[in-house]
């Protein structure tokens, strides 16, 4: 994958000074962003992110005919209410973890699978810079797709008259989604660097472990990202659905500073671990 982008040394061998970690990360970021954006995985991302936009268009269409798209207990759910549900159900509980799993686990795994890792590791850069550069490219790539989609959904669903009162919550939503992508990306970058079958493990973590532990009483939920991320969301958790009812029953919301602190600890911790693993691990490319 990366082989085409990395220049091949020509002529007599010369001792090339090693690039700084930051400069190397930036270089890898520049190369990886374009690759990630125009890969097949982006089609999957477009489909996933296009879902809520399509849903918002349908809701808008229904409301244009004077009907209400959603009613709860005979009460019409307003545009911002529907937007909140889309943020909660689709973006926070599905899109952000799924993008984190698919992109995060592939940061190193793709290079191993395509047998292009050798080309990267033979460059005069620190190995960790490769992971950080690719991680930043993942973050830019997903943020550039997810956040504009959220913005489009917001303007489709929320009437302009409600803009002054709801805009602050939108900004908060965007920040939480950005943080969610960053933390899940960090966690799954570690999974991708450490495990041999990272995608399966990532999916089990995001849609098995996290969902189950959130529904159970006890302290296990503290070992999830979703527990802290959901504590930051400004929308009340919808209470329909068995899982939500269970999660609502055992829901103890950590204070915002605690949630933020743990999210940043996860982010920093897992990225550091992933970098250490990439620096030390001997990758064996299967022939």
């Amino acid at each position: 994958m990366m082989a085409d982008a990395v220049p091949v040394e020509q002529g007599p061998r010369m001792a090339r000074p090693r690039m700084s970690f930051l400069a190397a990360s930036r270089r890898v970021f520049d190369l990886s962003l374009g690759e990630m954006l125009w890969s097949r995985r982006t089609i999957f991302m477009a489909l996933v992110v296009g879902g809520p936009v399509l849903l918002a268009l349908i809701v808008k269409g229904v409301e244009m005919f004077g009907m209400s798209a959603l009613r709860v207990n005979g009460q019409r759910v307003g545009g911002f209410g529907i937007f909140g549900m889309i943020i909660w159900w689709l973006f926070l509980r599905f899109i952000v973890p799924v993008l984190g799993v698919f992109y995060g686990t592939a940061l190193m795994a793709d290079e191993v699978e395509d047998k292009t890792l050798t080309y990267l590791f033979t460059r005069p850069i620190q190995r960790g810079a490769v992971l950080i550069g690719k991680y930043l490219a993942y973050l830019a790539c997903t943020i550039l797709v997810v956040l504009p989609a959220v913005m489009v959904v917001y303007f489709l669903l929320v009437p302009l008259s409600e803009l002054p009162t709801t805009f602050g919550k939108l900004v908060l939503d965007l920040a939480i989604l950005g943080l969610g992508l960053a933390v899940y990306g960090g966690v799954f970058a570690f999974v991708g660097a450490f495990f041999k079958r990272p995608l399966v493990i990532g999916l089990v973590f995001a849609f098995g472990w996290e969902q189950v532990t959130l529904a159970l009483p006890g302290y296990l939920k503290q070992f999830t990202v979703a527990y802290y991320l959901q504590a930051l969301v400004p929308h009340a958790m919808p209470s329909d659905g068995v899982t939500s009812v269970l999660q609502g029953m055992f829901r103890d919301v950590p204070p915002t500073p605690v949630a933020l602190a743990w999210l940043f600890i996860y982010l920093g911790g897992f990225l550091w671990l992933a970098t250490r693993i990439v620096e030390r691990k001997e990758y064996v490319l299967e022939q």
């Binding site: 004077g66 009460q75 019409r76 956040l147 009437p159 302009l160 008259s161 602050g168």
Partner: protein, 339 residues
């Protein structure tokens, strides 16, 4: 960045975000009238409602008149004699000629002293303007023009000494729209449209109007403004819950369904109000236990809301309407039998 395609993508994504955030910031700090990018919610007549209106109510008369609900009770209405006299004089048949009515309450300081001066009615329909004008002139009214609109004013001779008195007026605002109220309120309606400073630019009020869905009769307004200006005794005012905004919406067709929403000053008041209403609902359900029709009504009462909001929805079932109709017919027949 590696290539042109990527740069374009980043630029487009960034632009979408920047436009969205910019618009939101602008709206948050400077306010944004509803009519900037979209057509306002509610009927077009709202453009004639002054921006400081405390209550706005709307009824789709055509829908209500044609509803099964109204047809059901039509034969209980008084005789057609009085109606026909009115129609002969004015050429106006309420059932057929009026499409919709908007009623407005304005919180003027003199609301308690001069109630007529605080109300404005906007009626949309089909009128014979010349016939109405000549009828008014016959009865001593005066015709004048205000900003290109025809006004018919009725001056009361005895009102000269009353400082709060305001002459009643009738204005032809559009070919199919008339305004009725005091001369000052009718003029205020014309000014509201001409200056574009009308209720449509009142974001708080329009937010409530926007939430109303599929209703052929509704009312929204500031509860505290009416309570403070209506000249209610202090004892009553102190007992009233601290409601700031309210909205009531109903749909009349075969049955009758509706929702009442209130926004209180704080969460504690809303909780108290919900608790109080919950108590009433429980009592209503207990009382209606032996009456199936009323029990359905009691069961349809749904109390909801969170934070500062309280909402109560209801639906009058057909069975209950049958009972009410039978009761009304019984009462209607009794006086005739006595004669």
């Amino acid at each position: 960045m590696s290539n042109k395609k990527t740069r374009y993508f980043v630029a487009i994504s960034g632009t979408i975000l920047a436009i969205g955030l910019g618009t939101g910031l602008l709206a948050s700090y400077m306010g944004l009238p509803v009519s900037v990018f979209s057509s306002a919610a509610g009927p077009d007549e709202l453009q004639y409602v002054p921006a400081d209106a405390a209550v706005v109510a709307y009824a789709n008369v055509r829908d209500v008149m044609n509803s099964e609900f109204r047809q059901r009770f039509k034969n209980l209405e008084p005789t057609q004699e009085n109606k026909n006299q009115f129609e002969e004089k004015t050429g106006l048949n309420f059932e057929q000629d009026i499409d919709s009515v908007v009623a407005v309450a304005l919180t003027k300081d003199g609301m308690a002293n001069n109630p007529a001066g605080a109300f404005l009615i906007l009626a949309k329909g089909r009128y014979e303007a010349s016939r109405l004008e000549s009828l008014a002139l016959e009865h001593g009214a005066q015709v004048s023009d205000y900003q290109g609109k025809r006004l018919i004013t009725h001056q009361e001779m005895q009102a000269g000494t009353d400082p709060n008195h305001d002459d009643m007026a009738f204005g032809f605002l559009d070919a199919d729209l008339v305004a009725f109220g005091s001369l000052n309120t009718v003029k205020a309606a014309i000014d509201a449209r001409a200056s574009n400073r009308n209720i449509v630019s009142n974001n708080d009020m329009m937010k409530l109007v926007n939430e109303i869905d599929n209703s052929n009769a509704w009312a929204v307004g500031r509860f505290d403004a009416i309570a403070s200006k209506a000249g209610l005794p202090a004892e009553i005012q102190s007992q009233m819950p601290a409601i700031t905004w309210f909205s009531a919406a109903g749909h009349i067709n075969g049955g009758l369904s509706g929702t009442f929403k209130a926004q209180t000053k704080d969460e504690a008041t809303a909780k108290n109000l919900r608790d109080m209403m919950q108590g009433f609902l429980a009592m209503a359900k207990m009382q209606s236990a032996n009456k199936p029709a009323f029990q359905q009504l009691a069961d349809s009462l749904q109390l909801s809301g969170d934070g500062n909001n309280v909402a109560l929805s209801f639906s009058i079932p057909t069975e209950l309407l049958d009972v009410l109709e039978a009761m009304a017919k019984g009462r209607h027949l009794q006086p005739q039998q006595q004669h």
